[in-house]
Symmetry: C2
Subunit: 201 residues, 2 copies
Amino acid sequence: MSDPNEERPYHHGNLRAVLLDAADRCLRERGADQLSLRDLAREVGVSHAAPRRHFSDRQALLDALAESGFAQLDTALRTALAGAGEDFPARVRGATTAYTRFATENAALLELMYSSKHRPGATRVIEAAEAPFGLMADLIEQGQDEGALRAGDPERIGLVLFATLQGIASIINGNFVGPDMLDALVETAVEQFLSGNRPVE
Amino acid sequence: MSDPNEERPYHHGNLRAVLLDAADRCLRERGADQLSLRDLAREVGVSHAAPRRHFSDRQALLDALAESGFAQLDTALRTALAGAGEDFPARVRGATTAYTRFATENAALLELMYSSKHRPGATRVIEAAEAPFGLMADLIEQGQDEGALRAGDPERIGLVLFATLQGIASIINGNFVGPDMLDALVETAVEQFLSGNRPVE
DNA sequence: ACTACTTTGTAGCCCATGGCAACATTCTCT
DNA sequence: AGAGAATGTTGCCATGGGCTACAAAGTAGT
């Protein structure tokens, strides 16, 4: 444990990272609305204006969280796929459950990620999203190459699958149906996806 | 136009409705974050504490907006279905485009509606959502009765379709793809839905 | 009508937050 | 060593949410 009497150097060293970390925790525990820069500063033990050196305003911090969220999502999907074997349906199931799992375990973060109120200069969030989006498109393309899926623009099909998962997560996170329905909904979506894209024989 | 010198009675009469109306406009123009009770009060010409008589706090107002949003969505879907004729695929297309149209034209409102941070006592929002959800389930059931769709829990299938539409809207509203992709994504989703639920012959 | 009660709006306060500016300390590079 | 850039601090202001006490207007019982 850390010594509270420990002399903190004037320059924190990695304040930005520490702030993001604290913000992530606060996001989980109390939601984005309750996230205050001054709170974070206090929590980290730094003056109330210090965060401004790293995030020009509150929204900039939220955008950074969103950006990091897409990176986390990307690695979550990649690890799921890495452990999913070769069978195409199994890979799809791996990716989809990984997505919805991530999305329901990080509800507030997901809301931030898909928030429409990004700052004008929030291209970074959009760019960060391209990684997982592309990953999904690659998966689709692989399925098409294997003959498991019919032809069609992989990016578009991937987006629709992504959208379905995101929508399911929204419905769960919004408490419109209980979390116990999650698996059934995902399975239904996957079956429809596989069946709806089956090659015409 | 209204006379600014007009004597306003001490009791406004329908302040709640007027506030909601102003809130709806503000939501459109500046987003939920920028929505302040005091602002609304100013805009409507009442004292800053007046709104509290109708909304116990800010979140209560947001919840009321969300609730009204689901009602609006419901009527949008119903009118679309009413004008969609008898053909089942046409009805599905009518409902889906109506949904995504509503959702992209009211981006901030949709975010509120699906926000996971409803107050504990926000059962009203959930209840309001049941109308459009049920409508979709009815549509599915109709398709099954007509033999256009295979068997399966209509509610679950409807939820997945709903989720897909909501996800597509999120992706558009979040600026991850341009609005010009909307129609193509919806059409892809509809085709997959119809094809993925086609009865086994 | 008169009175009592309720509803709805007002005025004024406190406090937290975001955002700014001026100043301080440390780092880095030459 | 010294200049300039980074980074952190202190102090200020305006705004907004939420509270309490008060005022005006409706409503009901008599």
